[in-house]
Amino acid sequence: MPSLLEVRDLEVKFALRSGDITAIDGVSFQLDPGERMGLVGESGAGKSVTGFAIINLISKPGYISRGSIHFEGKEISAYPPDKMRKIRGNRISMIFQDPMMTLNPVYTIGFQMIETLKAHRNISKSQARAIALEKLKLVQMPSPEKRLAQYPHELSGGMRQRIIIAISLLADPAIIIADEPTTALDVTIQAEIMDLLQELCENEKMGLMLITHDLGVVSQVTEKIAVMYAGKIIEYGPTETVVHHPVHPYTIGLIGSIPGSIEPGKDLKQIPGMMPTLTNIPPGCAFNPRCELAADICTQQTPVLEEKQNGIMAACHMK
């Protein structure tokens, strides 16, 4: 059976005046129906660009320079804009960090939901309204009918994010790509939204791609995980295994640097230095200047992602 979404050897470049730089370098992964995957990395690792690349929304001067994206068996990376529009927001929905990026402040919630529906499907206003209500109930929105008449600014941040999720569910998508959906929210609200996303995926058989920097969130919600560093996936495997027995030194360092992973008051494990900028990626393994295991081969040869142990794939010469 082919996967729901299969990304193979994806490369994204940005054409700058100083020349092209590679933002994503040969990223491959797949997502099955109902599967929840986490794309983890620090800022600048290329995780958001990957999300945008899937729905072909990379803004100029970025472009997909290599690789393929198969969605439901069809290659979509080279779809023309009008064909892509039928997939984006319809079969694949996206949720962003800031709900106000998606919500228009001058229209009511109801108007925006109904317009979105009517743009994708040929239905009457009352039918659209009924669907909108149903989705608001699905995201456990208190008093959904009242919300339809409200404006975005009348709602709290958590409520707005719920509305966004409801909107993204309108067309019964096969995949939701959620880009840092709870980073702007408080922990108690974050917990609620994450519970909600997880339940939705289980009940509606939706695929979820959770893009975040927060390993804690990923480990609670997802089944598999891809860790990105400097535009590459450097570790890929089942969440449980990766979190408890990480292979790549970067993942090990990342987990060790989370307060709570060790006894309070003790020094946190720290990775020295910082992630290279895209214009300045060191030769060989991009992580080698920060890696305590680094040997000569690491500066000469770029490691490939390969099967290591317990079903984990990692890109490291030393393991």
């Binding site: 974050q190 480990s219 640097s257 309070p264 008051g265 910082m274």
Partner: protein
């Protein structure tokens, strides 16, 4: 709240409200006859706490709970509407700008956003020398340079970069420079307002380790403001939990994390995503967070608390000391209601 020794910092019943009603025309209301209506944000309400020398007190709470306002009131950036603040036994909230100056050397601040907290037009040297020169007008150029270089080394920034501007540094390095500015006057007490929440995880660990090292080396006392509970557990000796500008619970970090008493603290702790923990049981809060403009009556948490009874709606709970030395402000804890 009393202690038998003099704490380094004592905050007593501090209230800070902001009038956001604007000018005369903005205040005019026509509902039920013409009258003026003021809109006040009740950011901090009757908060009392103390910080002992050498400890790290964390103030935690979600956005809008008044933790940043409290930090700024303590440092005299805002004047409190009521209450008293003592530093080393001296009342400081009524001082004039000139009277404040000696305390400025002792109390410093580290900020959240490394991109906004450094003046983009000033070099590292200018940024770090300015406080030195201002407080020590007699200092020679060479002495100032030496001090700047020393502090830069302490925070892990190469002194060779002294002539650079902030935009030439990464976020983590900027935060180190910002910490250097806080240290350059050799303060005893540092208020750190979300010093790591704008940073990436691996950089966050570097900065947290640095802050803990500096505490040892320079004998510092921290007031640590943050929303991130895992950081709190790691760095603090005691923790104060704020909700809507009101203190819910003040306890040692171990007591608070092992046995949270206040229902809000429990909900907050259960919501921390712990790594490797599958499908945690979050305590669900009912209702919506009220705004600090319209505070609920009685206990400010009652409309979200599953254990709330009639008394909670009517009466504001007092901060009570428990046998283990924690302070909790909850009728349920006081009366021993079953809360499981």
């Amino acid at each position: 709240m009393t202690t038998n020794h003099t704490p380094l910092l004592r905050v007593q019943d501090v209230v800070k409200h902001f009038d956001i009603s604007g000018g005369f025309l903005d205040q005019l209301r026509f509902k039920g006859g013409i009258h003026l209506e003021k809109t006040t944000v009740k950011a901090v309400n009757n908060v009392s706490l103390f910080v002992n020398k050498g400890e790290t007190l964390s103030v935690v709470g979600e956005s809008g709970c008044g933790k940043s306002t409290l930090a700024r009131v303590i440092l005299g950036l805002y004047r409190p509407n009521a209450g008293k603040i003592f530093y080393d036994g001296q009342r400081i909230d009524t001082l004039t700008h000139e009277q404040w100056l000696p305390y400025r050397r002792k109390m410093q601040m580290i900020f959240q956003d490394p991109y906004a907290s450094l003046n983009p037009r000033k070099t590292v040297r200018q940024t770090l020398e300015e406080p030195l020169r201002f407080h020590n007008p007699k200092m020679t150029s060479q002495e100032a340079m030496d001090k700047v270089a020393y502090v830069m080394e302490q925070v892990g920034v190469d002194p060779a970069w002294i002539a650079r501007h902030p935009h030439e540094f990464s976020g983590g390095q900027r935060q180190r420079i910002s910490i250097a500015r806080g240290l350059i006057l050799d303060p005893d007490f540092i208020v750190a307002d979300e010093p790591v929440s704008a940073l990436d995880v691996s950089i966050q660990a570097q900065i947290l380790n640095l802050l803990m090292d500096l505490r040892e080396k320079h004998d510092l006392t921290y007031l640590f403001i943050t929303h991130d509970l895992s950081v709190v557990h790691h760095i603090s000796s005691r923790v104060a939990v704020l909700y809507l500008g009101t203190l819910c619970e003040l306890a040692s970090a171990n007591d608070l994390f092992n046995e949270p008493r206040h229902p809000y603290t429990r909900a907050l702790l259960s919501a921390i995503p712990k790594i490797g923990e599958k499908k945690a049981k979050h305590i669900k809060l009912k209702g919506e967070v009220p705004t600090p403009v319209h505070l609920p009556s009685g206990c400010v948490f009652h409309n979200r608390c599953v254990f709330a009874r009639d008394r909670c709606k009517k009466e504001f709970p007092r901060l009570n000391e428990l046998p283990n030395g924690s302070f909790v402000s909850c009728h349920g804890v006081e009366e021993g209601w079953p809360m499981a």
